[in-house]
Symmetry: C2
Subunit: 629 residues, 2 copies
């Protein structure tokens, strides 16, 4: 990173404008919780009325789960140089089980703070870290198991519901709330998510709320199979390319398009400073793979890794506010030879690092042997485990093999240990899996890991489409989400080929929002179908603007429409460019539907009765229903 | 269409260069059948050798199913103005059951042929149509049921196998042919596809070979659930935009990227002339929806449609060579009111036209009442039925409702009638269906339609992603293909928004090739995993060129790679831009793998035995395996 501060300020300001523009016809709304400082942000899409020749029908606003944070709030003052407001600080302080430290306690954190050469890169308003008081445990799981409903739990309950109870009580939503019953494969999704339900799920380990006490800027969210399926995005610089300002821009961009959490996978220079910029500006939980940075500290020589260096890295990152750590503690020494006959061996970076260490020292993975000590650190800051699948398959041929499943069984063993410490856990999953082998992954994870939330990368259902791996993996992701995966780690079109740019990130996130929503629909998540119903009604009624605005990517929907029919008048046209004005099935079918609806006939009646009279009436009426442009 | 011929010739020549460029490191190969004029084209991808410090291993060529026709054959002379060679003419003539007519027998075909104003648009080398001799039946099903294995059947048998038997006998392919067992949900895919198996499947109605005797340019292909899953693409002009040369370009483009069949859905001007250009230049079967053109003949007034006009259109198109007709004969009068409570009514163009006709006349759909007469036309030219799903759901809310399933049951009834005439049939399916309701569609189709091949549009698994509906539908397509759908109708990113351009068509086809291949893998189609295994081995060994060349879209894979690492030297680099040169899991894991493989340890042994000695050896060896750039 060679940028000087002035340059960074200027470029950051530009970023801010480009990625925070408001969504069309939307407004930020806040649902008030039981305390004044608990306000849950959502996005409301305002709809246009439906005009017919005889009447005008209002279409109610549709509330959408909103991951974008203050960036899409026109009343918020965004200043990336200061970071976001610390909305959770009061909640954390009130619990009275933490103290503010004198400064970073990790060796590395102290040395970076003291290095004058880093002044130009350093975030200007670094908060002094907070830690649990001696003997105290500050995890959401710990509170949940003691019967405490935290503000974080109430926040996610309100957030998951997205005003469903309110809409159910409002007759304007009755038809829009029609929905198929789901097939949830044993998930038990309640009709309404209550704070108490959230608490019970977190206590049982079936859900986690990643929320480090040093990340008070966070808007809490929950990961569990009885909640909405979530999407994680990855960013990160590497030795080859990228820089701090690009990474911050990607964070804001990711939150904008629907990333629920974000992993900073940086492996290049100035990882510590980049992370501070990201955390201070992030409304979503941030995850990391601490072994990456530890490896940098030993100049990339896996065999020189030590527990002491790793431990120092965990503390360094926990005190910055990282919400979950991927830790490859399941890559046990005896499992490594199981990968020998694979087509693509070990493809997880963390997995291969630990495998190399194990073989070099002929010793058991220190992440495994030191696991209880890691738990002690996690619970002092409430960092959640994301137990890494270091032996995940890197191709179709290697899917569901003994190496993969041996590690998964070990992750179950580690889950039990973490839970003895009241530390929150999710389990990472594959990778590359053919469609018919996907469900086995979920079933085995639920069984072996005691229903701890599953968090999977894709999986890609074929290896033959580099440049389209957002799609190959989106197919797997929709299925695995349906079967019970709680969070889907996105894949961009550049997977296997290069580092994603901004548009790749957008394509990846939207693909995964599709997969997550498809899974929610299939599971029958209450209210999930509302947005589909509203958009389809808008589509049927030629309300083009509403169709765009209700979609996952209003800007691209409009752009694609306008490539064929650019004029504003076409936005109220009762046809589209697919078929032209005189050949529109929607137009024809509205005649049919209006006729048939008035008859109230069912199939049997229609067969029995003559309909000549009504038919004549229909023909006489013609196309008069339509509003001409 | 205002183009003058000179302009068309010039523009066509440009098209020809742009869309026919050869695939990198590939060669066209032909597998010889039992007769000299039966040569089945395939594409062979040449691989580079694998270099290690101690040895060089050759990697064998990989044979790929090839839909691109003569356009990618450097020895073929392509002249769109003359059309493709008529490879099937001898086969058709030899059967001795057809005669060449004096000219078109449809009124419309004759009037267009006689119209001097159309000279500028007209294809210059129109062949005189052929028809079955009186009392004869020329369908592939008819031959199959008489025990005759036609050259078309042998062609598709060779094509489906893709030289699998040859590779199985070659030890260089042994590891590459490793494969998971599939889950085929009752499909019975043999270990090798023989001509006799093809005959039996066509005779049973479980597969069709769409191959009009007036489309001798066709390279035969088969659609059935015991064969590779196929992909259909749609093109077509409309009153709003597009022209003949654009449509021909899209055809070549579609075949290039993997479209197995193509539907010409034109609804604009000069449909007849456009179709001639398409057919004469098409190596893939062409489908149409004849009611569209019939409606043009009555100026868009559905209520003025007549059986006589429709019949004339069928003959007109059959004599041009259309291989399959979508016919909405299942939209029965009593089913129309069943759509009244839907969110999006009737969304099929053909369905809404027929519904409007039925209601206007209060009469049963003439396509239903005249079905046996339609069969008489179909069997005189071997046009296959694609029985249209006019009442398919247009949104998630309407999926699997009574209207949809009532029509499907009628399609089963019509299938039986068609089969009494030995006419080939496939059944069209939805549409918009949530993931958990997809399988019911296949199960019901197989039961109600006696295992006639299913041909589905997507289905889209959510309504909320206009501009990304290739992806929403690709998810549904992969699943429905796995469950037993024989052919998937593609959807482009412009679905619901506008007409697709060339890049949209490419995105749509690649997405659907992914879905079809994912389904083949899940069903366990013999040899399907070969390409995945080869590509993954290339990926693991940093053979970048092979990774690109084996992929579904070599050009885009290379382009994306080069956006980050453009230099040619990077194509042999043992790292990628994702992690950089010193942080590559593939690089690390190769050390691990080499070590472990030589030990031949299993999990139990490893747990029992000390490995100190081997570990030291491993560390000493370091990274010496790698070829430096």
């Amino acid at each position: 990173m060679s940028a000087i501060p002035e340059d960074f300020i200027r470029r950051t300001a530009q970023v801010s404008n480009a990625v925070t523009r408001p969504f069309p016809n939307s407004r930020k709304v806040f649902v008030q919780g039981t305390r004044p400082d608990l306000r849950v942000p959502m996005r409301e899409v305002i709809q246009q009325p439906t005009h017919t020749s005889t009447a005008t029908e209002d279409n109610p606003a549709i509330t959408i789960y909103d991951t974008s944070g203050p960036y899409t709030d026109p009343s918020a003052e965004i200043d990336l140089l200061r970071g976001l407001p610390a909305v959770r600080t009061a909640w954390i302080k009130e619990r009275g089980d933490t103290s503010v430290l004198d400064g970073p306690t990790s060796d590395y954190g102290r040395s970076r703070a003291a290095d004058p050469a880093l002044a130009a890169l350093r975030f200007a308003h670094i908060r002094v870290p907070r830690r649990a008081l001696s003997g105290r445990n500050v995890t959401q799981m710990h509170y949940a198991r003691r019967g405490i409903v935290t503000p974080e739990m109430e926040f996610v309950a309100i957030r998951e519901n997205c005003r469903l109870a309110e809409m159910r009580a409002d007759p304007r939503y009755t038809r829009l709330l029609r929905s198929h019953a789901g097939e949830a494969f044993g998930a038990r999704i309640p009709d309404e998510i209550t704070p108490e339900f959230v608490r019970a799920e977190v206590a049982a380990g079936r859900a986690i709320i990643p929320a480090n006490i040093n990340h008070p800027e966070l808007e809490p969210m929950i990961i569990g199979r009885n909640f909405r399926v979530k999407v994680n995005t990855n960013i990160g610089n590497s030795a080859v390319t990228s820089s701090i300002e690009e990474e911050v821009e990607k964070l804001v961009w990711s939150a904008r398009w629907g990333g629920d959490t974000l992993m900073d996978l940086s492996t290049g220079r100035n990882i510590h400073e980049t992370r501070e910029w990201i955390l201070r500006n992030s409304p979503v939980p941030i995850g990391t793979v601490p072994i990456y940075q530890t490896l940098e500290k030993v100049d990339g020589k896996a065999e020189e890794l030590t527990w002491e260096l790793f431990r120092d890295t965990l503390i360094e990152q926990a005190e910055q506010g990282v919400d979950y750590f991927t830790i490859h503690a399941g890559v046990r020494l005896p499992y490594v030879p199981l990968t020998a006959d694979r087509v693509t061996g070990i493809v997880s970076r963390g997995g291969s690092i630990m495998a190399k260490w194990c073989l070099a020292h002929h010793r058991e993975n220190f992440l495994y042997t030191r696991f209880a000590e890691i738990c002690e650190i996690m619970k002092a800051y409430d960092v959640s485990f994301s137990l890494g699948d270091g032996l995940r398959p890197g191709c179709i041929a290697d899917a569901n093999d003994r190496a993969q499943f041996a590690e998964l069984e070990t992750l179950g063993e580690l889950t039990r240990i973490a839970w003895e410490h009241d530390v929150q856990v999710m389990i990472e999953g594959p990778g590359h899996v053919p469609l018919h082998k996907v469900k086995e992954n979920v079933d085995k994870e639920l069984a072996d890991c005691y229903e701890a939330p599953f968090y999977t990368l894709g999986p890609l259902v074929t290896d033959i489409a580099p440049a389209y791996d957002h799609i190959t993996s989106g197919i797997g992701a929709a299925n695995i989400g349906w079967y019970g995966t709680a969070m889907l780690c996105y894949v961009t079109p550049k997977e296997h080929l290069g580092l994603p740019n901004r548009e790749d990130v957008r394509d990846g996130i939207i693909t995964y929002r599709i997969a997550a929503h498809a899974a929610d629909l299939a599971k029958g998540f209450p209210g999930a179908q509302l947005r589909d119903n509203a958009l389809s009604k808008a589509r049927f009624e030629f309300r083009w603007e509403d169709q765009f605005n209700l979609s996952l990517d209003p800007e691209r929907a409009r752009e694609y429409h306008d490539q064929t029919l650019p004029k504003e008048a076409h936005k109220v046209a009762h046809f589209c460019s697919m078929c032209g004005p005189n050949f529109c099935s929607m137009k024809i079918t509205q005649d049919v539907r209006d006729y048939a609806a008035r008859q109230g006939l069912d199939e049997h009646e229609a067969l029995e009765r003559g309909m000549q009279e009504k038919a004549s009436e229909f023909v006489a009426k013609g196309g008069a229903l339509y509003r001409e442009i």
